[in-house]
């Protein structure tokens, strides 16, 4: 089920090393399109623009933070990127192909965790994991998935319905379901908000591992993220996207809330 080992890793007859880290081989940029590319994206509710002319791209093995004030449209942007909402203008490309949410093979290579994830009402948390693994005929993946489950602090609550979980626990379960698939693109909407300190540190470690494995990560955050430095910082404010910092070596002075230089 490891999406990063399937498809999209060959271009022009050359094989790309998907395990390359943030400082990967220079030829990677020429051979592999960005995992996510957004061109002149706009979204409006009725006649009111939420944001417009949003353009950016994220390569594999990069972590991008998306910040912005409440109501700036971060969640809406994520929904458009995940194919859950239709932008009024612009294009979204995933793995070099235009994406409108209908391509199931592309969808299998990404995972979107919304701020309010939904689950089956009648399956327990562990049953969610087992169901997905069984559907993909990967029963051997259960141990790894349950390790993730335990690492995020849910081990004692596996036999409960997600509907009886707290908000933070529901988010943790959603993160387990997303991370166990090892997707090539992770879209996380406010993943750190409801997490406790230990779980936040564990998530940072998991996302760093995913980056090292070649995944691209885009997540929104309001507060300092422990133990994870972004490669790209984007700020959505006043209906525009402002890239804050982006350095080749991945270091971002000032942390996640660095303001753009004026």
């Amino acid at each position: 089920m490891d999406c990063r080992t399937t498809g999209g890793l060959e271009r022009n007859g050359a094989t790309v090393d998907a395990a390359a880290g943030p400082g990967g081989a220079p030829t990677q940029a020429f051979l592999e399109p960005p995992v996510l590319r957004v061109e002149k994206l706009s979204f409006c509710y009725a006649r009111a623009d939420v944001w417009s002319d949003v353009s950016f791209s994220i390569d594999s093995g990069k972590v991008a933070f998306l910040t912005g004030p409440n109501g700036s449209g971060k969640s809406t942007l994520f929904r458009c990127l995940a194919g859950w909402a239709a932008p009024s203008q612009g294009t979204v490309e995933l793995f070099g192909k235009p994406f409108d949410g209908s391509d199931r093979m592309v969808r299998r290579q990404m995972a979107f965790v919304p701020d309010v994830p939904s689950f089956y009402d009648y399956l327990t948390a562990v049953e969610h994991i087992r169901f997905v693994l069984a559907a993909n005929r990967v029963p051997a993946g259960e141990d790894e998935a349950l390790r993730l489950f335990d690492r995020l602090g849910l081990a004692a609550h596996g036999d409960q319905y997600p509907s009886s979980y707290s908000r933070g626990m529901r988010l943790k379960l959603a993160l387990v379901l997303a991370l166990m698939a090892k997707p090539r693109l992770l879209l996380l909407d406010e993943p750190y908000g409801p997490l406790d300190r230990e779980a936040a540190a564990a998530l940072s470690s998991l996302l760093a591992d995913a980056r090292d494995d070649g995944a691209a990560v885009l997540m929104s955050c309001h507060h300092d993220v422990p133990d994870l430095e972004p490669d790209v910082q984007l700020r959505l404010d006043g209906g525009r996207l402002v890239p804050e910092r982006s350095t080749p070596d991945g270091a971002t002075p000032g942390g996640a809330l660095a303001q753009p230089e004026r």
């Binding site: 089920m1 929904r79 995940a82 194919g83 859950w84 909402a85 239709a86 409108d100 949410g101 209908s102 199931r104 969808r107 299998r108 990404m110 995972a111 979107f112 965790v113 919304p114 994830p117 939904s118 689950f119 089956y120 009402d121 009648y122 399956l123 327990t124 049953e127 969610h128 087992r130 169901f131 997905v132 069984a134 559907a135 993909n136 005929r137 029963p139 036999d159 409960q160 319905y161 509907s163 009886s164 959603a174 379901l177 997303a178 698939a181």
Partner: protein, 551 residues
């Protein structure tokens, strides 16, 4: 305590005001915002019109009651009195069982945060809520008692009013122009064959009957409150045992009371005013005892238990009668809460690949058994009705009834049968990881429900179709129709192309009804079956070739 009580009464009046405002929305006005003179005139007009309609309905009801009692005679009076007593017993049992299972005191989220957590005493909370319930029960009892007394007086040849004749203008403008169906149905006085049975009825005025019944129903409500307060005031660990014992005792008393009602009914009817006076006095005595129980025990009520037991009602509070939410959304929300409270039963079977979907879907039917009613309706009623209509039973309008059952009736069979599939489409985080197409998910998820409805349909169809219809064709049509119904759910999950037309399940069901109805006009059973198969194939192709709709 009086100050707390007054505060709670003011809060309840404020809630009632909000309710009335919502009623006004139905008339297109908001009294809290629309305050111009013209708006006020319109609001007065609406209120006046509603009051006049209510008054006319009441008078018409009195007229019906009078004419019915006059036609049937004293036997109806005895039956009515007995029925009223039996109804009081039944209501008492129902309310008592409900009060034993959950606290009758309902605290909304704001109530919990601002009222229950405040220094306002439990006694004030209980007495105010109980008082409101008793008042409502008393009003309902008074109305029922007045109607009963009015009928009894009429049966005795008393001064029943001819309301329409008494008001000449109203009669000329309304009553005289409208034929009186009640009089036509009842016939002339004493014309009913039952009128020959002469029973003794005592004289009773409507006002006396109203007072007695008002006290009776208030005592019934008070009794259920008293039972609940006794339970909630008990020590926590014994509450569950008391609940079970109480329910058993209430049911036993209910059975005995119902029998007693039909014994005491004739006696009460024969006793007339004196009997009703004794009934009223007994009810008032019960009320006094119940009030004493409430006053004494309410301070010891376990408010934590009250909050827990009323939690379900609290969660459903926003979805009241005038909620703007789709009824399907509301029922899904109710079910979600109940399933969460129920906890998991059985385990997800250890299947792999495609079989895990079938196993998961079957588990869904077991864990969400509320949906079985919809499947039973689909398999045992809706589809057999359609098959019968297609083979010539009933008028052509039967096709419309079939379509209505498919689309409008709740619980919705098609909706329940496709629940597992719709859940797959809803839980996108998991859906994106499932290596199957929309069509595959639709088929796999629907198999357990399809099996159930198919069995039910095959059991009922042989009795539903007209004689002379080949049984094999009827059964085949039933099975194929069920399959088409389930496949139509897939239309909600696809679009014709990546930016194309969006089909919808109700459209597919309408197409099924139309196509098979047209084919049935040729009166060739297997042609009708073929039409249903064609619809199945068409819908399947649309789902197969359509682009998955993620939004």
């Amino acid at each position: 305590m009086m100050r707390d009580f007054q505060l709670l009464v003011r809060l309840r009046v404020r809630h009632a005001r909000t309710f009335l405002l919502r009623l006004a929305y139905l008339a297109g006005t908001d009294p809290s915002v629309d305050r111009d003179a013209s708006d006020r005139v319109y609001q007065l007009y609406v209120a006046g019109a509603l009051l006049i309609c209510a008054a006319l309905l009441w008078f018409a009801l009195l007229d019906v009651v009078e004419k019915t009692f006059v036609a049937v005679g004293s036997l109806l009076g005895i039956v009515a009195v007995s029925a009223l007593l039996a109804m009081a017993v039944a209501v008492f049992v129902h309310w008592s069982v409900r009060a034993l299972r959950s606290a009758p005191l309902r605290l909304s989220h704001p109530d919990i945060a601002y009222v229950a957590s405040s220094p306002i005493s439990a006694r004030s909370l209980v007495m105010e809520a109980a008082g409101a319930s008793l008042l409502a029960a008393a009003v309902i009892g008074a109305l029922a008692g007045y109607l009963l007394g009015f009928g009894l007086e009429a049966a005795l040849g008393g001064a029943g009013w001819d309301w329409f004749a008494a008001s000449g203008t109203a009669a000329a403008g309304f009553g005289a122009a409208v034929p009186d169906p009640a009089a036509a149905a009842a016939g002339p006085p004493g014309s009913s064959p039952l009128a020959s049975f002469a029973f003794e009825l005592g004289e009773v005025s409507p006002a006396m009957a109203a007072l007695a019944c008002s006290a009776l129903f208030a005592a019934v409500a008070g009794g259920s409150w008293a039972i609940s307060v006794v339970r909630l005031a008990s020590r926590r660990r014994s509450q569950r045992a008391e609940k079970i014992v109480g329910i058993v005792v209430a049911c036993a008393l209910g059975l005995a009371g119902t029998a007693g009602a039909f014994v005491c009914g004739p006696i009460l009817a024969a006793a007339g005013s004196a009997g009703f006076a004794i009934l009223g006095a007994a009810a008032l005595a019960c009320l006094v005892v119940e009030a004493a129980v409430l006053v004494v025990l309410s301070p010891r009520v376990d408010m934590v238990a009250v909050v827990q037991e009323s939690a379900l009602a609290v969660e459903l509070d926003p979805f009241g009668v005038f909620s703007a939410l789709d009824p399907d959304v509301q029922s899904d929300y109710r079910r979600r809460i109940k399933v969460a409270r129920r906890g998991p039963v059985f385990r997800l079977p250890a299947a792999q690949g495609r079989f895990v979907f079938i196993a998961r879907s079957a588990l869904s039917l077991v864990r969400q058994f509320e949906g079985l009613a919809g499947l039973v309706v689909l398999g045992a009623a809706t589809t057999p009705l359609g098959v019968a209509a297609l083979f010539g039973a009933g008028a052509p309008v039967t096709f419309l009834f079939w379509l209505m059952l498919l689309v409008l009736v709740r619980p919705s069979g098609p909706r329940e049968a496709s629940r597992a599939f719709r859940d797959d489409m809803r839980v996108r985080l998991v859906r994106d990881q499932l290596p199957f197409s929309v069509f595959e998910l639709l088929v796999l998820d629907s198999l357990p429900a399809f099996a159930l409805v198919a069995v039910l349909t095959c059991a009922v169809v042989p009795f539903a179709v007209p004689p002379g219809v080949p049984l094999a064709a009827a059964l085949a049509l039933g099975v194929v129709t069920n399959a088409a119904t389930l496949l139509c759910a897939g239309l909600d999950a696809v679009r014709m192309s990546s930016k194309g037309l969006r089909p919808w399940s109700e459209g597919g069901l309408a197409m099924l009804v139309a196509a098979t109805a047209i084919a049935s006009t040729f009166e060739l059973p297997w042609l009708t079956v073929a039409a249903a198969v064609a619809v199945c194939v068409g819908v399947a192709l649309i789902v197969l070739r359509g682009a998955e709709r993620a939004r």
